[in-house]
């Protein structure tokens, strides 16, 4: 499976076919999610209309965590098996994950002000998510800090793996510590605890965010592949006779075109 996926030419073929479906699917599903969460869902009996913020806050938080998990797993695969696409996937996913984390933090703050009476509190859940945001930014900065992408990739992969300890801390922070943030109400043993009228828009939005993530991920991976191909061509042009060992190292897939 890993070897089958490792072929960038095959990846290009498959992503060309799946990208439009993910992209347009995201637009349609998010539009449906917006209609549902702004028009159809009832206001909460305690939170009033601020509950509508949850329909983007919670899916964004799920994406923030799961995208980081993907970055970390891809980094591990890149380090262990030298999978040519894994490092590119991690690199492409990180800015999208950072975006979702930012949405999660901002919307949480906008909900916290009217409901808790504070824009921000240094409780375990909020602080650990803020650290997640900085991990994303650190990974992105580190990966781009080297002229040679393979060195940057390696350094970034190590950081991404170290940062994984933060994920269980975020997930279980609401159980381990006495936080202001409420415990899980959807992903819990014994099934979701929220009403269908609110669970449905939440899940539609989550599906929309996932599709959007996949579309952006594929697009950004294609971009990085193109950029590396161009870099290899440029380096080859500079040293046409010396067989350009550096260019060969940079080239991600010498075989394909």
């Amino acid at each position: 499976m890993i070897n089958w996926l490792a072929n960038p030419a095959r990846f290009t073929r498959i992503s060309t076919r799946t990208l439009p479906w993910c992209g347009w699917g995201a637009v349609v599903v998010i539009a449906a999610g917006l209609y549902w969460s702004l028009m159809l869902a009832p206001p909460d009996y305690q939170q009033g209309d601020t509950v509508r913020i949850m329909f983007i806050h919670v899916p964004a938080a799920w994406m923030a965590l799961n995208v980081y998990l993907l970055v970390a797993v891809a980094s591990a695969v890149a380090l262990v098996w030298r999978h040519p696409l894994a490092e590119i996937a991690a690199r492409a996913a990180a800015p999208i994950g950072a975006g979702f984390t930012l949405i999660c933090l901002a919307t949480g703050s906008l909900w916290g002000r009217p409901m808790w009476g504070a824009w921000w509190v240094w409780d375990a859940r909020l602080t650990s998510v803020l650290i997640l945001f900085f991990l994303y930014l650190g990974y992105m900065a580190l990966v781009n800090a080297f002229d040679d992408p393979s060195r940057g990739g390696k350094a970034g992969s190590v950081l991404a793996l170290v940062g994984v300890v933060n994920l269980p801390i975020i997930k279980f922070s609401v159980d381990w510590w006495n936080t202001l943030h409420q415990p899980a109400s959807v992903m819990r043993l014994g099934g979701p605890k929220i009403d269908t009228s609110m669970l449905v828009p939440l899940l539609i939005m989550a599906a929309g965010f996932l599709l959007l993530f996949l579309a952006l991920l594929l697009l950004r991976m294609r971009t990085i592949l193109n950029e590396r191909k161009a870099m290899a061509l440029r380096l080859n042009a500079e040293t046409p006779s010396s067989r350009a060992p550096r260019a060969a190292m940079v080239a991600t897939h010498p075989g394909a075109e």
Binding site: P95, I103, T107, L216, R220, R222, N226, K229, R234
Partner: protein, 57 residues
């Protein structure tokens, strides 16, 4: 209050609900625009390089 005004009023929480949706839209839209722009740029750059190489061969 009209139905539309009531919708935008958001039970008095308009100042929190709409900025939340606004932030999400701005972040996701700029990610999409940035990703697409960089993709187009990379395709054009690659085409230019490949064309520049062909006649010399």
């Amino acid at each position: 209050m009209g139905e539309i005004a009531a919708f935008f009023w958001m039970g008095g929480y308009a100042g929190f609900v709409w900025p939340a949706y606004g932030v999400a839209f701005v972040v996701l839209a700029s990610l999409a625009v940035n990703s697409w722009g960089r993709y187009r740029q990379s395709v054009l750059a690659l085409e230019r390089l490949q064309q520049a190489r062909r006649p010399r061969r």
